[in-house]
Amino acid sequence: MAPLLEVQNLSYQYGSRKALQGLTFSVEKGEIFGFLGPNGGGKSTTFKILSTLYPTQPGQIKVFGLDLAQNTIAIRRRMGIVFQLPALDKKLKVRENLVHQGHLYGLSGKELQSRIDRDLERVGLKDRQKDKVEKLSGGLQRRVELAKALLNNPELVILDEPSTGLDPAARKEFWGHLENLRESQGMTVLVTTHYLEEADRCNRLLILDQGQKVALGKPEDLKAEIGGEVLRLRAKEPALLAAQLMEKMNIKTQMVGELLQIEQPKAYQLVTPIMETFSDQILSLTLGLPTLEDVFIHKTGRRFAEDKE
């Protein structure tokens, strides 16, 4: 079966700044596909192009087998979108927001009312439907946005950093809804995020940095690529230690921020010899299983969090 979304060689420029450079990937029906990357990495640009807000520049995008540039309206009809900026009218009640959304998608009358009931039920907001949106907490407002995006029975839902500004509990909740939709409706979900724990919940992940594809695959596969464990050393003089490790023990290290990082199979076996030789130089040593952050570091040589702010 053809993929639900096919992106080929997509580039985008803001003036002379290249936001995306030759991005190619495809998304299968029924998966939660994540875009992970630091701010400015190209996630939001990708999102804006896919949501049809930005025109496509060089490159080709096919959604549902249709060319995005040619069949914009047809594709819009079958897509649900949740923006990073809240797209609700806060002066209106929850239900009123949904009614307007329905109208914009050509829904009206009983059909619209029953879909609104269904979606309010889905996101658990039936009892708040008569409240003005501004009275709702951030987490609940996000759920209204989701209900709004579901109204037209989309085959594809795309979300831009949907849990920004939510507390961890609300974030977890929101993700529960997404996973539920995928399982019960077979919906395809595309989501951008800069939260590693969210990225871990995606079926597949595209890691973006500086407008380029850094990695693509299942989170567990990406982490397995690094293999074994990751050893992190905090040292008085990291550069010196790195040189000595190479010289004396033939251990390759990577400088990540202030930390020296060692990635190799069975890295735990290095703990004792390293400590025996260099204990006077080492301030701390930690051993952990690779995280998506390690994947990012491994591929870019930079820490993920550094770029975040």
Binding site: K48, S51, T52, L53, Y54, P55, I73, A74, R76, R77, M79, I81, F83, L85, P86, A87, L88, D89, K90, K91, L92, E96, V99, H100, Q101, H103, L104, Y105, G106, S108, K148
Partner: protein, 250 residues
């Protein structure tokens, strides 16, 4: 069908947003009252007070238009506009809904001034009143459409207000609202191509159908010219949104 539904839903939203916010009511009614308190008492002579009355209505309407179109910038900043722009609807329908909403509110705000119409010798006559309504609505539409176009083009809210005031106030002053004719030829020419001239004229003729108004365009001319301007600015706004729209909404 989707076109009408889109227009309807965006129009309705403007109205709901108006009546949900008490301060806007207060502003609308308060403006009308203050205008009248100041202008009605400050202007000497019953004749001039009556002469000035149509201009007062149009001015009240004008402020409402500025307000309504500024909300486009607000919609954009708040994010509401994005979800409208990615809906499978024509840009022309979005523009129409928004302009109609603003024009409806502005017409209403202009009509509020009519409460004082009896004090300047107005008597209700069905057809004349219909003419007044039509003129007031059309000039509202023209000003809202102009404002829409400007708000879409200008990025910042202060910039928008600065330009709107700079453009609209002189247009209002040179519309026959304050003085009938000018001896300056260029000002006369400006008055002839100024949509406000026709708006004020239509309202004046609607208010005082039997008065001697030789120097004022006829109701028919006024309505036709206003319609022309309305269509022109609507098309201009739709065109701008079509061209730059999707990107500008973020």
């Amino acid at each position: 069908m989707t076109f009408l539904l889109t227009v309807y839903t965006l129009w309705q939203r403007e109205l709901v947003r108006f009546y949900r916010v008490p301060s806007r009511w207060f502003g609308a009614v308060g403006t009308a009252l203050l205008f009248w308190a100041v202008l009605g008492n400050g202007i000497a002579g019953d004749n001039y007070r009556a002469y000035f009355f149509p201009g007062t209505i149009v001015m009240s309407m004008m402020f409402s238009c500025i307000f309504a179109t500024a909300s486009i910038i607000e919609d954009r900043q708040a994010g509401f506009l994005q979800s409208v722009m990615v809906a499978p609807v024509s840009r022309a329908a979005i523009v129409m809904g928004k302009i109609l909403g603003g024009a409806t509110l502005a017409t209403f705000q202009g009509l509020l001034i009519m409460v004082f119409a009896a004090t300047v010798g107005w008597t209700f006559e069905f057809w004349a009143f219909l003419g007044l309504l039509a003129s007031l609505f059309l000039i509202s539409f023209v000003v809202t459409a102009m404002g829409f176009w400007l708000a879409w083009t200008v990025e910042s809210s202060p910039g928008f207000h600065a330009i709107m005031n700079m453009v609209l106030l002189p247009m209002w002053m040179a519309s026959g609202a304050v003085f009938a004719v000018s001896s300056s030829p260029w000002l006369r020419a400006f008055m002839a191509v100024n949509p406000f001239t026709y708006g004020v004229a239509g309202v004046r003729r609607g208010l005082f159908p039997t008065a001697n108004l030789d120097q004022v365009p006829t109701l028919q001319t006024s309505l036709l010219v206003l319609l022309g301007f309305a269509v022109f600015f609507y098309i201009l706004s739709s065109f701008v949104v079509e061209k730059t729209g999707d990107k500008k909404s973020t």
